[in-house]
Symmetry: C2
Subunit: 291 residues, 2 copies
């Protein structure tokens, strides 16, 4: 068996091949250009690796996940030039002649982290990425959550921090939603540098931790998530996850039932959560138990 995986991001595609989600034997990264160029380059790389059994794709969004839709497997109305209405799953199914698993990049990452948490009896997990944008995936009882499309956790509205009242936020749609306030570009716009360039006393650390902690509290309260895994570039800032954890506990005020089971972690798989999750999607595409 040979599984292929694609983590399709706005700036790069990560490609991988292996025999299971745990065993990646080859990988490649290519820049994201226009769809025709990028997809052909990815397909050529896979062709050079041998015969595949299935491919999994964790993609930037928004994407179509409704299997009853003729547009299942499409990237839909992204503002990214050229990529709107791109049939990414169909392309690889046609070119490689294999079943294709498909979900958001963050649901894929959540699946990989969920599998890693199984030894600890975890039954629900959210994966938040804090980077160029903010996105979230959610796995409940082993299945990634779909509904009216898929979660877009970056666009909830946190309460404004008292030391951050005036910044308008950078989200073109919502201004000061979570992504508008706490993404890498939001930090850069307001303070002119990334979080890790400031000393711990700089208010930026407490402000960003507060916004992400509000998202964690919301996920604990709204879906009773047992574990929240926080990845992405901004989350690598020294001390940030500890601050998020402490602030989330303050917000919960020890009230939420099961709060002893609420955990906030860094990714078990580090930066590989997305591509390992895409391998999991490939694996699932082979079974009748489609995710």
């Amino acid at each position: 068996m040979m599984l292929g995986a694609i983590e399709a991001g706005g700036t790069k595609f990560v490609l991988a091949a292996g025999t299971s989600p745990d065993v990646i034997t080859a990988r490649q990264t290519i820049p994201t250009r226009d769809p025709a160029t990028t997809l052909a380059q990815a397909a050529a790389w896979f062709a050079g690796q041998g015969q595949f059994t299935a491919i999994g794709i964790g993609s930037f969004g928004p994407i179509e996940l409704d299997r009853r839709s003729s547009r299942w497997g499409f990237i839909t109305n992204t503002p990214k030039p050229g990529w709107a209405d791109c049939d990414i799953a169909g392309y690889f199914r046609a070119r490689l002649g294999v079943p294709v698993g498909f979900d958001t990049d963050v649901n894929a990452a959540a699946l990989a982290e969920y599998a890693a948490a199984q030894g600890e009896g975890c039954s629900s997990l959210a994966y938040l990425t804090i980077g160029t944008g903010i996105g979230g995936g959610l796995v409940l009882g082993g299945k990634p959550v779909h509904g009216a499309a898929h979660p877009e956790m970056g666009h909830i509205y946190p309460r404004r921090h008292p030391l951050d009242r005036d910044f308008a936020g950078v989200c073109p749609h919502h201004g000061d939603c979570l992504e508008g306030l706490a993404s890498g570009p939001a930090i850069m716009t307001r303070w002119g540098a990334s979080l890790s360039e400031f000393p711990q006393e700089h208010p930026s650390h407490a402000i960003i931790a507060d916004y992400i902690a509000q998202a964690c509290h919301t996920l604990f309260a709204a879906v009773a998530a047992e574990r929240i895994v926080i990845g992405g570039g901004v989350a690598k800032t020294g001390g940030l996850v500890e601050r998020i954890r402490a602030r989330t506990a303050e917000l919960g005020a020890n009230y939420l039932p099961g709060s002893a089971c609420h955990h906030i972690r860094t990714p078990h798989h580090g930066d590989n959560a997305g591509i390992i999750g895409a391998m999991t999607l490939a694996n699932a595409a082979l079974s009748s138990q489609a995710l």
Copy 2:
């Protein structure tokens, strides 16, 4: 087949008997007193109805839903005098000798509304009740969501409305969380009357609609819910659901994928959603596919 159902609330217990969730043949309401009195009175009513096949209980919380726990079926650490550590499911299983289905009152209501929405292809539904307290249930793919216990949607923090900056909120744990700001008691404390006693121009209508709309936006963004059903006494205020719908659309700014599938409704089953959902829990307790 005879199914029994209990909607266990903080002020009253609704009891019902019937042959399916759609066919309730007898019902009774009793006041919630201490557990010994209340549970015995409920059991006596069921005994007078004949032989049951299964019982379903939708209960106020917090409750234990983890089937691996020896305390499954308990009301856990409620502040309600006498009710902490009450083995409510075990009581009826022992007294009536039948399988017992058990979940939160709001997950039960969400199940009933979910079933009613099946004809419209709805795959995910949240049920919010806005009354003495604020609670929420969530059904995804036919299953009520559990995790670290169960959702406690009343305790997310909405952004403060500009016309409502000074009110401290009435939640004993969180002050100005959603329940602290938008529940019946919060309205009464701040304005001295219930929402329906004020004309539509009174700022209370826009303020409360805004807080509940923020919760709706959060649910759409965090779990991609297709439908949100809003029940409870406060939600019956004339014009409120329309205002919530309009404000939620503003907050979403037409950005969330699948937003054409986002619907905010009043309960199909009106005040009967909870007891019908408890019948559904009874039904499910008979199958191996436990909810």
